[in-house]
């Protein structure tokens, strides 16, 4: 197994009085696509938001190691900006592009923390290559884009921080099936180009298709884990999440 980049260990999260995540443990290795599937309300979004430090962790730890040569960093209690600066980027649920900013401004703001201009230009090239339509529409206000285009913009924006680990919260949500196909094939491409991915999805079939490994989240607990194929062939998973009767 390649190097561990994200290690979530025995994490407990409560929001207000509700105990949402209970003793969650999972990991992501370099070069992997890991999927987190589960029903609505299982805690998938909370998990991603916790990694990004939107929520306070009551118990447990989250550690991150960008590269074998880097040190392991404890990111459990650091502010969101710092998490981003370490190389983790989140493409949030519902896309949430900055509607009043132009497409180009949206993409650029993804590189907010970066200092090296030539590298930023490289990544801009890459993103325009992945999503040519964004280059076409670069001066339009992001709010005027279609749902699928906004999804591409959100991913492009998240890629601009040159993350080692890309988090995606329900990328297929609200998209026409054609776009869902497109997005997932782009995620495959991004994965091939070297970015590790942690994916949260209600569309379990699609997620398990591209995942190397996956976890099943049920009411705040990890109920199952295994390789993508293993879970796909698991009868319980099939019944609960894949619509197999």
């Amino acid at each position: 197994m390649s190097q561990l980049i994200l290690d979530v260990a025995h994490v407990d999260v409560s929001i207000g009085k509700t105990h949402i995540l209970k003793n969650i443990s999972f990991s992501v290795h370099k070069g992997e696509v890991v999927a987190l599937i589960g029903a609505n309300g299982a805690g998938k979004t909370t998990t991603l938001e916790t990694i990004m430090s939107y929520n306070k962790v009551q118990k447990g730890s989250i550690t991150y190691q960008k590269d074998e040569s880097d040190t392991k960093i404890d990111i459990t209690h650091i502010p969101t900006e710092k998490v981003v600066s370490h190389g983790i980027s989140l493409c949030p649920e519902g896309r949430q592009v900055f509607a009043s900013l132009s497409v180009a401004e949206n993409i650029r703001i993804g590189s907010y923390l970066r200092r090296n201009r030539s590298e930023v230009e490289e990544d801009l090239e890459y993103v325009h290559h992945l999503f040519p339509i964004l280059h076409e529409r670069q001066h339009q206000k992001a709010g005027s884009l279609s749902g699928g285009e906004q999804m591409m913009l959100a991913v492009a924006r998240a890629l601009m921080s040159r993350p080692t680990l890309l988090l995606l919260d329900e990328p297929s949500l609200g998209l026409a099936p054609l776009f869902v196909e497109r997005i997932f094939s782009m995620l495959e491409q991004i994965h091939k180009d070297g970015t590790s991915i942690l994916l949260v999805e209600q569309n379990a079939a699609k997620a398990l298709d591209i995942a190397d490994r996956a976890y099943v989240l049920e009411i705040g607990r990890i109920a199952m884990s295994g390789s993508g194929t293993q879970l796909k062939n698991n009868s319980e998973v099939q019944k609960a999440y894949l619509g197999v009767v």
Binding site: T80, E81, V84, P92, F98, I109, Y112, L113
Partner: protein, 294 residues
């Protein structure tokens, strides 16, 4: 000639309101909070100006001082009153900023008494040129042109610089702005500093134009500038400027065109206008509709 006079006065009053309204709208755009203390920064700027005059500071330096001190005051207001209220509901923030406003006003009364103080700028500000048959003082020219320049600089800042775009992103969606690595607290602080610097500068000009200062002088202009921001669309800087000029012109027209008896109703007119706009055109002219006002 009368028309020219009205036009120029409207431009002057509009410039003052625009400078103040911009600060309101920047804070509102990001925090969704009405900052009552903003009006009192006007007063602080005016008093600082008097102090500088007494020390015979040359006027370009005085302007720089007022801008810097104004920014500092903004920084303090943010840290003391708004930062602790970050997660509080809208109405709590409202009362808090009203409390802060009264606090500042009464500190002024404590230090300077409520009596208005008259003063005059050095003579050279009253030198004038004739435009279209109307005497326009040097001060008026400064007011009109410096406002335009500052406005242009600000728009440039907000569209072309990294911090400026970060500010617009934060105003639209604070949570996602954080995901970009933007330090939201820093953005808010910068917004307060810029807005307050402009308000203090406006206070300096206001005091100079009307020749009088008192600790309560900022509250009403501040509220009216808020009306201007609403007219232009809260959250939009260009909108605040437009709203400011519109309000300035409307006030001057109201007083200039209506029979003398009615000019006392000018303030009522402004607030009546506010209520109408809030009811029928809550997004103003350029504003973005995100929340419910009515």
């Amino acid at each position: 000639m009368y028309v020219t006079e009205i036009f120029i006065n409207g431009l002057i009053q509009g410039s003052l309101y625009a400078l103040i309204a911009i600060g309101f709208t920047m804070i509102y755009g990001i925090l969704r909070l009405i900052n009552f203390a903003h009006g009192d920064v006007i007063m602080i700027g005016a008093f600082i100006n008097i102090g500088l005059l007494k020390m015979s500071v040359p006027w370009p330096i005085a302007i720089a001082c007022v801008l810097v001190l104004g920014a500092f005051i903004g920084f303090v207001i943010d840290k003391v009153a708004f930062y602790p209220m970050r997660d509080a509901p809208q109405v709590t923030g409202f009362i808090a900023s009203l409390a802060l406003s009264l606090l500042i006003q009464n500190l002024g009364i404590l230090l300077f008494t409520a009596q208005p103080k008259n003063f005059s700028l050095p003579d050279f500000f009253r030198e004038n040129i004739i435009v279209g048959g109307v005497k326009v003082t040097f001060l008026s020219i400064i007011i009109i042109f410096s406002s335009i320049i500052l406005l242009a600089l600000l728009l440039l800042f907000v569209h072309k610089t990294k911090m400026g775009v970060a500010m617009r992103a934060t105003a639209e969606n604070m949570r996602v702005a954080r995901l970009m690595g933007i330090k939201v607290n820093t953005v808010i602080m910068v917004a307060f500093m810029i807005g307050s610097a402009l308000a203090a500068y406006a206070g300096m000009l206001w005091g100079g134009r009307y020749g009088q200062v008192d600790p309560l002088m900022g509250f009403l202009p501040g509220l009216k500038a808020f009306v201007a921001a609403v007219i232009g669309g809260v959250g939009s800087i260009a909108g605040a400027a437009i709203g400011g000029y519109l309000l300035g012109f409307s006030e001057i027209l109201f007083v200039g065109l209506l029979p003398g008896r009615m000019s006392g109703y000018r303030d009522a007119f402004v607030f009546g206008l506010l209520i109408l706009i809030l009811l029928f055109m809550p997004n103003g002219i350029l504003g973005k509709s995100e929340e419910q006002r009515a």
